[in-house]
Amino acid sequence: MRDFLLLLADNTQILGHRLGEWCGHGPELEIDMAMTNLALDLIGQSRNYYQYAAELEGAGRTEDDLAYLRDAREFRNCLLVEQPNGDFARTVARNFLFDSWHFFFLEALCQSSDERLAAIAVKSLKEVTYHLRWSSEWVIRLGDGTEESHRRIQDAFDHLWTYRGELLTPAPFETEATSAGYGVDLLSIKPRVEEKLTDILSRATLRRPEDAWMQSGGKTGRHSEHLGYLLAEMQYVQRAYPNSVW
């Protein structure tokens, strides 16, 4: 259960951190605020999972220890969420690929046999419903926008497509979670995720990239080179000034 909780916690924490990097750099004030709102939602969600994981451990560690004092190999997040922001289109495509999976995943997690997990899912789903709407609308507008925005969002999907397979491919601890009843059967949500992707991409007049070789490894701790740099920044204060609080 610990790995399963960390998967959910790390996914939301790392994507939240990436979105936080946009703070003060968004293409427009309104978009800047939208992205930092998303970041705060995601980091809030990750706290619920980290707190639960820390309690289950019973080793006296806290949510902060889990977020700020683990090394890259111990992180369970998917490769997709650690990919750099790139331009705005790259961020939108990354968020949409994540949100379109996250939404249906949480919907199913609401039925978890674990009451606390189900409660977190119910609460998160309200936020993620908006996240999916936000990224879908932007995919459509960039795809169906100007020549330049269309080219950029298409490039973004072509580039990120290889990372989407991991979302729907269970790691051993997920298979275990599914058979124990507290997890989510990824096969059962796959058709709805695919349907959402196809629908939004076609409304955005975008070409759906080929499902070729998919990258994997994040869930078991084999990350891309980007995660180390991200953690160096995210964990810096806690590493440099252990136990500092404010």
Binding site: E28, L29, E30, I31, M33, A34, N37, Y130, R133, W134, E137, R141, D144, G145, T146, S149
Partner: protein, 97 residues
């Protein structure tokens, strides 16, 4: 379709803070179209539970009175205090007047 402007068009935002109250003007923002304006308004103006309903209106759809017309527009009402319903005796105990 987005127009190829350097900036998105401007929208005026109105928020209803509670059911039953009227929508009030709270500010403006830039957005590509009405749907995005609504979402931006949600992100910019309702972060602290300020509202339960949002209207957005293209700023260009607003016709405003001219500050130069202030006198002819508003001055004539000044000496017509009898238009205020303050000349009635209100029974004691009547509240919320």
């Amino acid at each position: 379709m987005m127009a190829n402007h350097s900036e998105f068009p401007l929208w005026e935002v109105f928020i209803r803070s509670h059911g039953g109250l009227n929508h009030k003007h709270v500010g403006s923002l830039h957005a590509a179209d009405a749907q995005m304006a609504l979402e931006h308004a949600r992100d910019v103006y309702t972060r602290r539970m300020e509202g339960v309903s949002i209207w957005v209106v293209p700023s260009t759809a607003i016709t405003a009175s001219d500050p130069a017309d202030t006198d002819p527009f508003f001055e004539p009402a000044k000496d017509k205090i009898y238009r205020h319903p303050t000349f009635y005796d209100i029974p004691e105990g009547l509240k919320h007047m």
